[in-house]
Symmetry: C2
Subunit: 442 residues, 2 copies
Amino acid sequence: MDERPNDFSLFLAKNDSTYKSQNIMPNKAIIITIGDELLIGQTVDTNSTHIALVLGEHNIEVIRKIAISDNKDDITETLDEALKKADVVIFTGGLGPTADDITKPVLCAYFGGTLVRNAEVLEHIEGIFSKRNLPMLQRNAMQADVPDNCRILFNKMGTAPGMLFEKEGKYIASLPGVPFEMKYILEQELMPILKDKVHSERVVLHKHIVTSGIPESLLADRIQDIETAFPAHMHLAYLPSLRMVKLRITSEGLDAHVLETEAQQVVQAITERVEKYIIGYEDVGLDVYATRLLADRKLKFGTAESCTGGYFGHLITNIPGSSRYYKGGIISYANEVKEHILQVPFETLAAHGAVSEETVIAMAKGALTQLEVDLAISFSGILGPDGGTETKPVGLVWMAIANKEGRVETKQLHLRYTRLTNKEAVINEGWAFLRTFILEHY
Amino acid sequence: MDERPNDFSLFLAKNDSTYKSQNIMPNKAIIITIGDELLIGQTVDTNSTHIALVLGEHNIEVIRKIAISDNKDDITETLDEALKKADVVIFTGGLGPTADDITKPVLCAYFGGTLVRNAEVLEHIEGIFSKRNLPMLQRNAMQADVPDNCRILFNKMGTAPGMLFEKEGKYIASLPGVPFEMKYILEQELMPILKDKVHSERVVLHKHIVTSGIPESLLADRIQDIETAFPAHMHLAYLPSLRMVKLRITSEGLDAHVLETEAQQVVQAITERVEKYIIGYEDVGLDVYATRLLADRKLKFGTAESCTGGYFGHLITNIPGSSRYYKGGIISYANEVKEHILQVPFETLAAHGAVSEETVIAMAKGALTQLEVDLAISFSGILGPDGGTETKPVGLVWMAIANKEGRVETKQLHLRYTRLTNKEAVINEGWAFLRTFILEHY
């Protein structure tokens, strides 16, 4: 461990009093998601995550997220509580055309309004049904009934309009629960209005440092003195996941320029301390860091996936523009596919089995030739719950990278999670493996 | 629409008074997730979904889920509120070895305890570090410090022990935020204790009906009289997603047998009304329904994916035992891979382009031959954000299924979402397409 004199605390300590003495009033928000499916564990809530992200970009601080039932008392009680703590309350869910969707009448009544049919919304809904060649029902027309005490957030993507209420200088919005409708209304309709109404002098700044290859606790020890010297308005969070630890430095204050300078000094200090573990400074996954190298080096890449079943290819092709470097892959789940398409010799499979160093090497080489690429990665393993043997237990995974220059590297893993977490772990090891391979050989 | 006499309301109405007159006291739970990453939109919370599911299986009703910051005041204030409403409170997050992890000391102090080093936990942590060949630090040893006023929930999967506190007949548990550690402690340590302590006479029953091919509002109209006749202790929820609408009937009472009989009659009545749209009665996705047919019919299946990039294969191989019917796939992202591995004629690509009916037919046929399967599906499309043209706009997708008997069917989609939602929509259409193809031809 390299120990260096810590002159770092000095510069930050003197800045802190500036902030402590100021009474910074941030805009606070609470997100309320409505739906029994959230409370019985049927649905994972991705809506509130997206809303929190967008609010954060507008310097509105989410102080709480609450999931409740489709129930009038729960909605009104939670809203009462939220209005005591927050300046902005955003609801999602419960705006559909069926009897369990009660958000609209409940909010309308809460703010003392009446539902009135809106001609523009009605015309839009009629348009959707006629375009889809579906009969329009009374319950669909009723989606055009909107409270007369709210501003309508027009839903170009669907039939349920969003609503924006105002009460005593506070803003309460209601958005549909269908994710792409919610996103559209949030970004195109709500935020343009809200950003003018809810204005704060306070600035929140996040900086990220993405590391790989160092455990969370060791990392924390190495930079402990830097963290201890943080002023009160600065905060360090550790976000560990499979194969990487992300550091998030959050800082708040009134002067964006001062915050930026200060945060950059912290990033610089941490970088000097643990430089060799740092992958980058953007809050993106190892997939983005690895594939970016493929693009930079103008390399053509291919995959040969057995146990991961196409997951690696799926994640690559989630990235817009990946066709520049990704040509494709073979999902060789069955041994015949390994043999007939990837040209893994029958003898290799017979002598060493599908999950072996010899087989993943042959798979990677086969992918290299068949897909006509510069480098290829291969995976084969036993992810469970069944399929393990005495010598090859569940959790054993082999991977290989081969390139046109004839270089081949392999890696073995012993995983101990469930099937899906094992798959996730293999993929993450794969990104780290690919990234290192490119950095070392290109 | 088939109209039939509604004799259905009669039987339910007479049962209802039995329930209304009884004072059913359910066990109520609140889940509190801790972490700034949840509030700034950096992390999607899957932990609370899983906890809710497991609690539900033990007849403990989750009445609220709350996400808060890593902050002492937020933790204690939320816990105060939760204890007023719930019998069980479950925390996750904030138990790691770094300075931002404060859940343990805060809860310890809240319940008036002191942290004491636990020899068994310490030995376990030392074992993990020696096995991984990593230096054990003071901050890791401190993870073995546990409150002297709680029951330790041993964490076989990691270094942070869980905790179970009791106060005035209420139970408060704290679990780590790392998902597989949380799941292990929840299921192996916490629930075995909790299920004996928290016992309720109340039974909650969920039944599901999965439909496809009928819009939510039309479905609601068709079964409106059945829903209207529901007794007060029974509730119907509509869960629409891409290509399907799930119905959830939730019923609660004291007599599991009566609830079951009653719910079955409702399911029967709905089935008679909309039978042709019903896919099944299990709360699983179209992927499970479609692949189950492959297994039942003993069909060997393969994939040829361009725009979906391996996602279809990934989802199939997420299902344990999928090697019985899935042989593998070709991810033909580049045209050369379509041509050289899938044997799509150069002339087809040149004349019609990669996104065309002709190309997906050739891809499916190529997959059939190359992968040596009974039937194969293919996808090619423009998912965006770029790559669209005047005649082939973003959102245009073609898919085909070909089988050994020479049958070929195709489908065209026009999608209007973002890249990832478009991918999701294609996949869901693919499952529905595959399911229908098998039902019609095997």
